[in-house]
């Protein structure tokens, strides 16, 4: 029997591995005071479509009233909806910010990769300070460490370096779109030819042309100083410096690179953005950033930041967890006695397997099937 393309089943060893990782990440989130929520699996189309280009990625259905429903492609927008419509209206003074976390499957009808995968992440809603950005980034790094990863990198950028600069320069819409696509795709060749032919201040051309390769540590932030004649760049750089500084206090700075070339599909990001990478996996394992404008669309506005991690990436690295052997395998000629013995062992906290058919004890023994074999005498 075939299963639909891009989906897959998980066998016990894979699921146990995934859930162990999930549990350890969730307990880390809890230790940082993030509370778990669950949003609906199906959302109205408009709750998951802040970005036109993502439309093709949605699994969509009609309900009986003819409204469009979609399987959630991510959690950030649904949680923004939840907070804006349920938590903010009755928020007491001092109850902000909200720290929420989640874990669940998301669905994307994109080509390649998996179309159903487990996402785990946090949202910190109601805090605009750089310290909030730093907290979320530090937590993402602690999470990668707690997932057992070592040789990873988290790249930190700021959407304002390009987006706010484009506003400041009042870039013509078509050119802005082209440059944005070029930057997001890291199409250095295309961008350079575009920049060569367009009308922009030289300094701005130089900066935009440099963006894809502005990667490194504190020295990148220093290089930005040459472009702080632009107010937008000055603000973005100041905010990055503050966040980067806090990350040192969190003790995670060694894992962080500044990377001003990050720009990505979801259009709701508005400030610092970051991505996590692990070797031998061609896709980011986590993505996050600030999205101050997203909640407003659902009624109540609030600044917010967060990240999502694709837990399933770890399975792609061949993660499996061996199943524990039963403590005891119980068999005998009297079913009632066998049942009673099993129940009493289970009450004592043992993992017990009961024989439900004829038993070939020698082959079970040979397979080293469990820790103990117990034969229950009939009388």
């Amino acid at each position: 029997m075939r299963i639909a393309e891009g989906l897959r089943d998980l066998l016990p060893e894979e699921l146990a591995f995934l859930e162990e990782k999930e549990r350890s990440a969730l307990s880390l989130f809890q230790a940082w005071s993030y509370r778990k929520v669950l949003t609906t699996g199906l959302e109205y189309g408009e709750c998951v479509e802040p970005e036109m280009t993502r439309k093709g990625d949605l699994y969509k259905f009609f309900d009986r009233e003819g409204q469009v429903l979609a399987l959630r492609p991510e959690f950030t927008t649904p949680i923004a909806r939840l907070v804006s419509s349920r938590l903010l209206p009755r928020a007491l003074d001092g109850s902000m910010p909200f720290r929420l976390c989640y874990s669940g499957d998301v669905y994307r009808y994109g080509s390649g990769r998996y179309r159903e995968f487990r996402q785990i992440g946090v949202e910190l809603i109601g805090a605009a300070a750089e310290l909030a950005d730093a907290e979320v980034i530090a937590l993402s790094i602690e999470m990668l460490l707690c997932l057992g990863l070592r040789d990873f990198r988290v790249s930190l950028g700021h959407i304002g370096v390009f987006a706010d600069l484009a506003d400041e320069l009042v870039l013509e819409e078509a050119l802005r779109k082209k440059l944005e696509v070029g930057l997001a795709r890291k199409d250095v060749v295309g961008m350079n030819s575009l920049l060569a032919s367009c009308v922009l201040p030289e300094k701005a051309k130089e900066l935009v042309g440099l963006l894809p390769s502005l990667t490194g540590g504190a020295e990148v932030l220093e290089r930005l100083r040459a472009f702080e004649c632009f107010e937008s760049v000055r603000r973005a750089a100041a905010s990055l410096r503050a966040v980067y500084g806090f990350l040192e206090a969190f003790g995670v700075q060694e894992h962080v690179s500044i990377d001003l070339g990050i720009l990505r599909g979801f259009a709701y990001y508005s400030g610092t953005i970051f991505e996590g990478y692990i070797p031998d996996v061609g896709f980011p394992i986590l993505e996050g950033g600030r999205y101050d404008g997203l909640l407003e669309g659902f009624g109540q506005s609030a600044p917010a930041t967060g990240f999502a991690c694709n837990l399933e990436t770890l399975l792609a690295l061949g993660g499996q967890k061996p199943m524990p052997k039963p403590d005891a395998f119980v068999y005998g000629d009297s079913p009632e006695k066998v049942i009673r013995r099993c129940q009493s062992l289970r009450r004592a906290g043992k993992q017990v397997e009961m024989a439900v058919g004829p038993v070939d004890a020698s082959s079970l023994l040979a397979a080293d099937y469990c820790h103990d074999f117990e034969f229950v005498e009939p009388s």
Binding site: K186, G282, P284
Partner: protein, 225 residues
């Protein structure tokens, strides 16, 4: 001499572009002529440079790179556009020049406009045979037109002859194949050359190595080495 700090893998296209690729790398100081010696061998280690070279089908290169099986690749812009893969495009390598064109049988050419170009309006809703349905569709929809792409895997020129399609979208380098098949170009879609592409995670994790190598290649292409 270039020695990668973290070891780099580079995917090169099998076939006629392999010679140009090796030539370019050699000029950048990366000795890899052995790649041309045995066409059955598909991977080559260059321990002196801490590099590994993978040779594969040109159209498979973006896949190898997108999934990170190769950090870098040399691939035609035509392939990048058609496959719309998520890879970073770093350097125009200038070889492997070709053009994407719309071509039609000489006897059914559309009328010419004053500036000498062809009036394409009548091609709306026509069928177009091509190896590159995405390129064809994008080109026509940018003109506000809708065409029916018919995907073929080779010998596109045959399609208009036997009535499978009214026109073709294909890449041409000299235009000889078109002429032999009595087809004429009615519009150019874009020009393509080979590019250096990078996996977007490798681009971050091996940024220094990749920047240096990209710089070397850029200099060679610009004639500065």
């Amino acid at each position: 001499m270039f020695v990668a700090k973290k070891s780099l893998s580079l995917a090169l296209p099998k076939g006629k572009l392999l010679v140009d690729s090796v030539e370019l790398l050699e000029r950048a100081g990366i000795a890899c002529r052995e790649v041309l010696a045995d066409e059955r061998q598909l991977t080559f280690e260059l321990p002196g440079h801490q590099m590994r070279i993978i040779v594969c089908r040109p159209t498979d290169i973006p896949t190898f790179v997108e999934y990170g099986a190769a950090d870098l690749g040399f691939v035609g812009k035509d392939t990048i556009v058609e496959q719309a893969m998520d890879v970073a495009e770093l350097v125009d390598l200038k070889f492997g020049y070709c053009r994407f064109v719309v071509a039609m049988p000489e006897e059914t050419l559309p009328p010419r406009l004053q500036d000498g170009s062809f009036e394409l309006r009548d091609l709306d809703r026509k069928r177009v045979a091509t190896k590159f349905p995405r390129v064809a569709e994008q080109f026509f929809s940018a003109q506000g037109m809708q065409v029916t792409p018919i995907k073929l895997h080779g010998n596109i020129e045959l399609a208009p002859k036997v009535g499978l399609a009214e026109m073709i979208v294909d890449i041409v380098s000299t235009g000889k194949t078109l002429k032999v098949n009595r087809l004429a170009e009615v519009a150019q879609i874009f020009e393509a050359t080979s590019r250096l592409i990078a996996n977007r995670v490798s681009y971050r994790l091996k940024h220094e190595d990749i920047q240096i190598l990209a710089g070397l290649l850029r200099d060679v292409v610009a004639g500065e080495r």
